[in-house]
């Protein structure tokens, strides 16, 4: 692969803490290799800022291989940047060219308050899982794993939904800050499996209730979530959720 170096202008959201108003700051970076990852470009910038005695830019990141779901930059108006089915940490600088100006913001959603710069608080997702995103089976209760065959197609669909990394890009992309793709993926993952059947109705009702409580918006089916999801989680999971929710509301005895 041919590689090249570039000079870039970065407009980055800086915010001292949750109560600070925040503003954009402009930075120049030079000699950025096209082989770098986007976060490595931030590493370079931060090293320069530290050397200049300035506060480096805080951003969330951990595995840097696209699976932990921690990285979360809103790049040029798109969560995780310009590539399809990709996380910020796997975005590489060959997506940009010399002279580009890149704007970087945190996830914007009421339910994800900014803690500092590009770091947001996404514990709302954990609380949604607490509301029902599990199968109640204590350690030691399990029967033999092959005692219950599962249709391959269903298992594959459950896996596709379970591939969600909980990054919150769907919320950041949605004009209503809806978390329905995240919730739908979990409802589908567990609802598709026979093990998840006993709690199916309660699960969807409780998870949706918690989602509303956290302040996520309503879904208006624009599909921005699916278009931006780094793991390609399908919007059909939302259809499934709506169906399950409707059925559960009608038949629930609570």
């Amino acid at each position: 692969m041919e590689h090249y170096n570039m000079n870039l202008t970065l407009k980055v959201w800086r915010q001292k803490n949750q109560s600070d108003r925040g503003q954009f700051e402009t930075y120049k970076v030079s000699n950025i290799s096209s082989e770098m990852s986007f976060l490595e470009m931030f590493d370079v910038l931060n090293e320069e800022l530290i050397q200049e005695g300035k506060d480096p830019i805080a951003f969330d990141h951990d595995c840097r291989e696209g699976i932990c779901g921690m990285c979360s930059m809103y790049i040029d108006g798109k969560p995780h940047g310009p590539w399809q089915e990709n996380t910020t940490c796997q975005l590489h600088m060959r997506a940009f060219k010399d002279g580009d100006t890149i704007t970087v913001e945190p996830w914007r959603a009421n339910a994800f308050p900014v803690l500092k710069d590009l770091v947001t608080d996404r514990t709302a997702f954990d609380r949604i899982i607490q509301a029902g995103g599990f199968i109640s089976v204590n350690t030691g209760n399990a029967v033999d794993a092959n005692a219950l065959p599962i249709e391959k197609a269903k298992a594959d669909d459950a896996f596709a939904a379970a591939a969600c990394i909980g990054c919150g890009a769907c919320v950041a992309a949605c004009k209503n800050s809806s978390a329905l793709l995240f919730v739908g993926a979990k409802v589908a993952h567990l609802g598709l499996l026979p093990q998840g059947e006993p709690e199916r109705k309660e699960r969807v009702l409780n998870m949706v209730a918690q989602m509303d409580k956290e302040g996520f918006g309503a879904c208006t089916s624009t599909g921005a979530c699916e278009a931006t999801c780094p793991k390609g989680i399908s919007i059909s999971n939302i259809n499934r959720l709506n169906k399950e929710y409707l059925v559960a509301s009608l038949v629930s005895e609570k």
Binding site: M1, K16, N17, S33, E35, S37, E40, D43, V44, E47, I50, Q51, G53, K54, D55, P56, D62, C63, R64, E65, G66, I67, C68, G69, M70, W83, N86, Q90, H92, K116, D121, F125, D126, I129, Q130, G133, F134, I135, V137, N138, T139, N141, A142, V143, A145, N146, P149, I150, E151, K152, A155, D156, A158, F159, A162, A163, I165, G166, L190, Q195
Partner: protein
């Protein structure tokens, strides 16, 4: 060193132990508090299981959510002695393979227990809704992995770790909802509190506000993972660190076999100085991929231009019995040997090819055969073959393309070994307790099950075995004697002193106000470690490394530059504390590597090799676990736990 291994025949030890260990009644469990550091497979499974049992659990992780822990990145699979494939697997075979794979430096009793509970893990995970790969009949699918000749690896595409961790995370969140576990994310443990010789709590720092917090616990479980980031570049997550384990070590817990590091053979090579981490390509790729270099040194032709007869499939040549599926340590050293000898490929010449062309053709032919059509053209065969490969390894191929910009369906992947896992860790006895009463270590944080080399798909197995099936029994045996201990108020002088020492250290770090960034010092440490305590080690290099690390430590503590303040979200300060601990650990690793004048598993001493370059063990002198006791700055005392093999007869590992 007393590992407190139960008496009796190997097969019966764990059953007997479970039948005789002390129990805690439910009413008393409610009064007992357990602190868990880390929420990866070991931590999350332990927190969920102990919460289910009724203990009061507090779990801590430094990430924003417990679901981020680095277990999530494990790709290939998890081993279990289910023998669903009817290919001769058994508890004994899994036990034997693990002991042999570990080059006879692991404890028989621990490994046998691991093999015994392996089958329960798969059952438990399936019950939780972990979507493992399945066959068309609806039953679970298996694949092969390095170092074994049976198919016992369960998997979920190339995201097995993610699916297992999500399962454990959901079980953990369920306990949070039930009020049995209290979760502290964005918190880092910075000190262990010991009162009258027993572990009684921790000091943790809230990483958002910078506040120090005191937490009491009747027991503390360290599930904080491995320390591969001592090398700066590794496949670990950026935040993975040794700090929790190191604080425990300095508080009295012995460190076992620190030099045993696993260098994984199939990672994406370094592309430049900017590199912040290395990415693993799952070992499962070696099932179907063939590894080769050109037969000619410095061959600059494109891989597709090099004809078959001018390629050296060196693993198949050297190890015909296991071929591309030799254990990791063997595969890594073989790659290094070829590159050092001038046969490396790519611009850096520090890479070998992992080629899928043959697999694509083979699978394509099988597909064509299924259609009963003998007249399928080559292009069509390749097309069908690519579909099969995509189904099996699609996400790994996509990841490779994102990072390198090259299409691995067309061009062979370039790979090179990288630091991946640390077999060493806190020394623990059979009950997973460290040398400090009430302080436990689980998963990669302990040293116990993998000896000098871990087999693929065994880390997930061990993490979950420790958390789901071992600690729920062994902790009861300790806590049964603690039911009369009322929670100690955190105003106790020991808590006060521990908090003060943490706070003093943070202030010292911030007040250095030097010129070198944390990152630059970490990179220098990494380079020393990789060059002198990496894939091959020798006496002279290790002695130099120790001096260089001691010098680096001085520089760090006199010249590090940390921006910002203590009472705010300050990732540079967090990192500084971790790098300071890595520096001290690095010195101990070199010391341990120097002491061990033999080659075994991942530890290769150049002075100790056979005529054909294979590792040469010295069982007469080194058949022990090196357990290091911290005695003060640059000062450790070595204790030896002799390894006794009652069942397996140690032999020279051969994969030829």
């Amino acid at each position: 060193m007393d590992a407190r291994i139960p008496a009796g025949p190997l097969d019966d030890k764990w059953t007997d132990y479970k039948g005789h260990c002390k129990l805690v009644n439910p009413a008393n469990k409610r009064k007992l508090e357990v602190i868990i550091i880390g929420t990866g497979l070991a931590g999350a499974s332990a927190a969920a299981s102990l919460g289910e049992l009724g203990y009061k659990v507090k779990a801590f992780c430094f990430q924003d959510s417990p679901r981020r822990a680095h277990s999530i990145a494990a790709q290939g699979g998890i081993n279990a002695a289910k023998n669903y494939q009817n290919d001769g697997d058994s508890v004994f075979r899994l036990f034997y393979d693990t002991i042999k794979g570990g080059d006879y430096r692991a404890r028989e009793a621990n490994v046998h227990r691991l093999a015994e509970v392996s089958a329960n893990i798969i059952d438990q995970c399936v019950a939780q809704g972990v979507p493992f790969a399945r066959e068309y009949g609806g039953l679970l699918s298996n694949r092969s992995f390095g170092g074994t000749q049976v198919q016992r690896t369960f998997y979920a595409a190339g995201q097995t770790g993610q699916q297992l961790l999500i399962g454990a995370y959901q079980a953990l969140e369920r306990q949070v909802a039930l009020g049995n576990v209290k979760m502290y994310s964005r918190h880092e443990m910075l000190e262990v509190v010991i009162i009258d010789g027993k572990t009684r709590g921790i000091i943790a720092r809230n990483l958002v506000t910078g506040e120090l917090e005191r937490h009491f616990g009747h027991a503390v479980l360290l599930c904080s993972g491995g320390y591969g980031n001592v090398f700066y570049l590794s496949t670990n997550a950026m935040g993975s660190n040794v700090t929790a384990a190191w604080k425990a070590h300095k508080a009295g817990a012995y460190f076992g076999n620190p030099c045993f590091t696993q260098i994984h053979p199939t990672c994406i090579p370094v592309s430049g100085d900017h590199q912040s981490k290395l990415t693993l390509m799952s070992e499962s790729l070696r099932n179907d991929g063939r590894i080769w270099v050109p037969k000619k040194q410095g061959d600059n032709r494109r891989p597709n231009e090099i004809p078959e007869e001018e390629r050296d499939y060196y693993l198949e040549r050297r190890y015909p019995a296991f071929g591309n599926l030799v254990p990791r340590d063997v595969a890594s050293r073989a790659a290094k040997e070829r590159c050092d000898a001038g046969y490396g490929v790519g611009s850096s010449k520090q890479a070998v090819y992992l080629d899928y062309a043959a697999a694509i053709e083979r699978y394509g032919k099988i597909e064509a055969g299924k259609q009963g059509n003998d007249n399928v053209g080559k292009d069509e065969i390749i097309k069908m073959g690519k579909e099969v490969v995509k189904e099996k390894y699609g996400n790994l191929f996509d990841m490779y393309e994102k990072i390198t910009g090259e299409n691995p369906y067309e061009v062979p992947m370039r790979i090179y070994p990288a630091v991946h896992y640390t077999m060493g860790g806190l020394w623990v006895d059979y009950e997973l307790m460290t040398t400090v009463p009430g302080l436990y270590a689980l998963g990669e944080a302990n040293f116990s099950d993998h000896g000098a080399n871990r087999l693929g798909a065994s880390a997930l197995m061990q993490g979950l075995a420790d958390g789901y099936f071992v600690i729920p029994y062994t902790i009861g045996n300790y806590l049964a004697d603690e039911i009369r201990t009322a929670p100690i108020p955190t105003s106790h002088p020991a808590f006060e002193a521990a908090e003060k020492s943490v706070s003093d250290r943070l202030n010292t770090l911030m007040n250095i106000k030097g010129k070198q960034t944390v990152e630059s010092l970490h990179k220098r440490l990494g380079k020393i470690m990789w060059d002198k305590c990496g894939m091959a080690r020798n006496k002279q290099g290790l002695e130099e490394a120790i001096k260089e690390i001691q010098q680096l430590k001085k520089e760090f503590w006199s010249d590090v530059k940390i921006p910002g303040g203590i009472n705010e979200l300050n990732p540079e300060l967090d990192k500084a504390g971790r790098v300071a601990d890595f520096i001290e650990l690095g010195e101990l690793m070199c010391k341990d590597a120097l002491e061990r004048e033999e080659s075994c598993g991942g530890h290769f001493r150049e002075e100790s090799q056979s005529e054909d370059g294979e590792a040469l063990r010295h069982d007469d002198r080194f058949m022990y676990v090196a357990a290091w006791e911290y005695k003060g700055d640059h000062n450790w005392q070595l204790h030896k736990e002799e390894l006794v093999y009652d069942v397996v007869k140690p032999s020279t590992r051969s994969y030829k």
